[in-house]
């Protein structure tokens, strides 16, 4: 995809001017806020489950090599093939090779954020394959040539009227006057269209929500069952998953499943939870003849070593996105990378380089709601701050604000000078603003006064007035 994180401000302005997007985002925010207390209220052990999930992931990450090797051995035992891929290029080539080996023409795809990360569709299409997204949201985006704006609700930025228009534009063999007002009309139409594709696909490619080391199984959760058709109908099933998806045991996967859907969509569990292991055995009624698992690193090993390790606990539930007021104001596309919202503000600099994404960790009010809702307790604001430290050290954010802050920080380390400066500035502000109570414009403060008036100071500093009115009560 075209990485535009450096243009966050411009992207955000465009998003704020888009009335359809704004109404879709307002609905998402409201639904999320109302659903949260219901979800957590119904499950008294929710907080304990979060702790348990964190412990499972921390343990796994501490012994990642062991669990990945166990996983690989069990996949192989079950007749599957594991392909270790270092980066996006590796993974794309490996997948293309598998497709070519079976003379595939058509690929059915389940929803996978990692496939977005490696820009898989474009690559396969450029190499002559037909690729069809089978998740409804992803299918809509494929027709519209857009990317997902949310990790679990990829088309959340669209209103249903826009989707109806898209269907009319693309499904041209159908009656142009057919009713498409109800969501059920649209899902029915998509189902009919997609069924043809499921049946004709030579290869199915899906992601995985988890990989289970002790059995070599993959776990896929969906609400449409498209993931199941994608992995069972075609002759070849390719799973693409990043290395941090592994958990040790089935029990661990079950614990994490209990918080995944609740955090993602507010459901207790998704409609379909599929656990699949290896290729079709002689007695199996269905399943792929070939099973391939792409284990992708793409920067994870580097994250594992450093101060951003906690982000590898992420289970891609999107709770931080739905709950973030900045995401709620601008949507996922404004972040200009694969992942939007708080998780994107931490991951995108890791995947693409801080020099290509430094505005993202800046674009947070540090309200902390992301960390509050993250089922894996990832300290997202803290990790964004670490990126700010790095951006500051590399002098990436060369803005007026940076110079202003440097001057302020210097003054703050010289209390007597600071106080002298404060007295003069306050006197000025009072002279200009006290009659009205507000200043409408102030040089060098355009960021503030563009949308807000600046309250006039009351007059005098607290410290000066305290010294005068309460002499002797200033500590030793």
């Amino acid at each position: 995809m075209n990485q535009t994180s450096l243009d966050f401000s411009k992207n955000a302005a465009r998003a704020q001017a888009d009335a359809d997007l704004q109404s879709a985002l307002a609905k998402l925010q409201r639904d999320t806020r109302l659903a949260r207390p219901v979800i957590t209220g119904r499950l008294p052990e929710f907080e304990d489950l979060r702790d348990r999930a964190v412990a499972i992931k921390d343990h796994t990450l501490a012994h990642l090599d062991h669990y990945l090797e166990t996983f690989e051995a069990n996949v192989t035992d079950a007749g599957g093939h594991v392909h270790w891929c270092n980066d996006a290029g590796d993974a794309r080539e490996t997948i293309l090779q598998i497709c070519n080996n079976v003379n595939a023409k058509t690929v059915g795809k389940g929803k996978s954020m990692v496939s977005e990360e490696i820009a898989l569709n474009d690559y396969l299409i450029a190499n002559g394959l037909e690729v069809v997204e089978t998740d409804l949201g992803e299918y809509i985006l494929q027709l519209r040539e857009e990317t997902p704006s949310h990790v679990v609700m990829p088309a959340i930025h669209l209103k249903k009227e826009q989707i109806a228009d898209t269907f009319r534009d693309h499904h041209t063999t159908l009656d142009p006057d057919r009713p498409l007002d109800a969501p059920s009309d649209m899902t029915e139409e998509a189902r009919t269209k997609l069924r043809e594709k499921f049946l004709s696909a030579d290869v199915g490619i899906t992601g995985a929500n988890m990989l289970i080391a002790e059995t070599g199984s993959i776990v896929v959760v969906t609400n449409e069952g498209n993931g199941d058709l994608t992995q069972t109908l075609p002759r070849v099933h390719i799973v693409i998953a990043a290395i941090e998806k592994v958990v040790p045991r089935v029990d661990d996967a079950l614990s994490i499943l209990r918080i995944l859907a609740r955090s993602a969509t507010g459901q207790e569990i998704t409609c379909y939870t599929t656990v699949a292991t290896g290729s079709k055995r002689p007695d199996d009624l269905d399943g792929p003849e070939e099973f391939h698992l792409i284990l992708l690193d793409n920067g994870r090993t580097k994250l594992l070593e450093g101060e951003f390790r906690d982000v590898l606990r992420c289970i891609r539930c999107g709770a931080c996105q739905s709950a973030c007021p900045v995401y709620g104001a601008v949507g996922g596309h404004a972040y200009g990378g694969v992942y939007g919202g708080p998780i994107g503000a931490v991951l995108t600099p890791a995947l693409d380089g801080i020099d290509k994404a430094w505005p993202l960790p800046e674009a947070s009010s540090f309200c902390g709601n992301c960390e509050a809702v993250c089922p894996m307790r990832i300290p997202l604001p803290g990790l964004m701050r670490r990126w700010r430290d790095i951006a500051h050290t590399q002098k990436l954010n060369k803005t007026g604000a940076r110079r202003g802050l440097a001057l302020w920080a210097w003054a703050a380390q010289h209390p007597a000078l600071y106080r002298f400066g404060a007295r003069i500035s306050l006197r000025l502000l009072r002279t200009v603003g006290r009659r009205r109570g507000y200043l409408r414009r102030l040089p060098l403060a355009g960021g503030w006064t563009a949308a807000r008036d600046l309250p006039t100071p009351e007059g005098g500093t607290f410290i000066d007035r305290w010294q005068k009115e309460m002499p002797g009560k200033t500590g030793s």
Binding site: A329, N369, R385, H392, A412, Q413, G437, R465, W466, T474
Partner: protein, 257 residues
């Protein structure tokens, strides 16, 4: 520890510069709650602007300065969840590798409190003697809420204010869009956030919006004024102390100040 705990009042830079009356209100509440209050005059700011801008070096220098000034007191109290959270949670992180200051930072952190939660949770005090016969709504400032768990405490005390009718916001715990330098780095995004907050405030029909952080309040007050809304904004300490006699935040005065 003496019968009357010695409290160092960390006024915060915004109260120092913009609204000294909040500092006096805080001191008055602390004294009513049985504390002796001192205000070290070399205090400046908690260093959060530098800390959140990635300038750890400056933030650490300011933190060392603040710790040196306040470590003599039994408690450090600030009329702000954001600044109190900085001392309580972030100073120890910032100075973890500083041989001289790591333990001193933790010692100060453990004794640092936001004003309202200090009054209720530490002093067990609720002797409010104030009146504010108006409809009031309350914005939960983010740092106080999520870093310090301040939610019920302000409501407990507001309940004791004579005549005050609390009208809760639809979304009291959603950020107002201030976020320190965030609001000037991304003014349009911040504006959308504060507009949502103000729609919520206006819908309650309350005459006054209160909060525990002056940063959020200046953001809200500034936008209320620009939109021409009649709601006034004040710091909760002014109401609890019964000293809210002057103009509201950004309210015009008669020029005697």
């Amino acid at each position: 520890m003496t019968a009357r705990p010695q409290v160092g009042l960390f006024a915060t830079c915004l109260v120092d510069l913009y609204r000294p009356s909040v500092g006096f209100a805080a001191a008055s509440l602390l004294e009513k709650a049985g504390c002796d209050v001192a205000v070290p005059t070399a205090q400046v700011c908690c260093g959060q602007p530098a800390y959140n801008a990635g300038d750890r070096k400056s933030a650490a220098a300011i933190a060392r300065q603040t710790i040196s000034l306040f470590e003599e007191f039994d408690y450090v109290v600030a009329p702000s969840g954001s600044c109190a959270g900085m001392l309580r949670h972030h100073y120890p992180d910032l100075l973890a590798d500083d041989a001289d200051f790591a333990t001193r930072a933790s010692a100060v952190a453990d004794r640092t409190w936001e004003l309202v939660s200090f009054l209720t949770d530490i002093r067990g005090w609720s002797g409010i003697d104030a009146s504010w016969p108006k409809g009031v709504t309350y914005h939960d400032a983010c740092s106080g809420l999520r870093e310090l768990g301040i939610k019920v405490q302000p409501r407990q005390l507001l309940e004791k204010v004579a005549g005050l009718e609390l009208r809760e916001l639809d979304a009291p715990d959603v950020c107002c869009g201030f976020g320190g330098t965030f609001c000037v780095k991304y003014p349009e995004v911040s504006e959308a956030m504060v507009d949502d907050k103000i729609d919520d405030i206006v819908a309650t029909g309350a005459a006054t919006v209160l909060s525990g952080d002056l940063g959020c309040l200046m953001n809200i007050a500034g936008r209320l004024s620009r939109r021409g809304e009649a709601v006034e904004a004040r710091h909760i300490a002014e109401i609890l102390a019964g000293t809210a006699t002057g103009p509201a935040i950004g309210g015009a005065d008669d020029g005697q100040g």
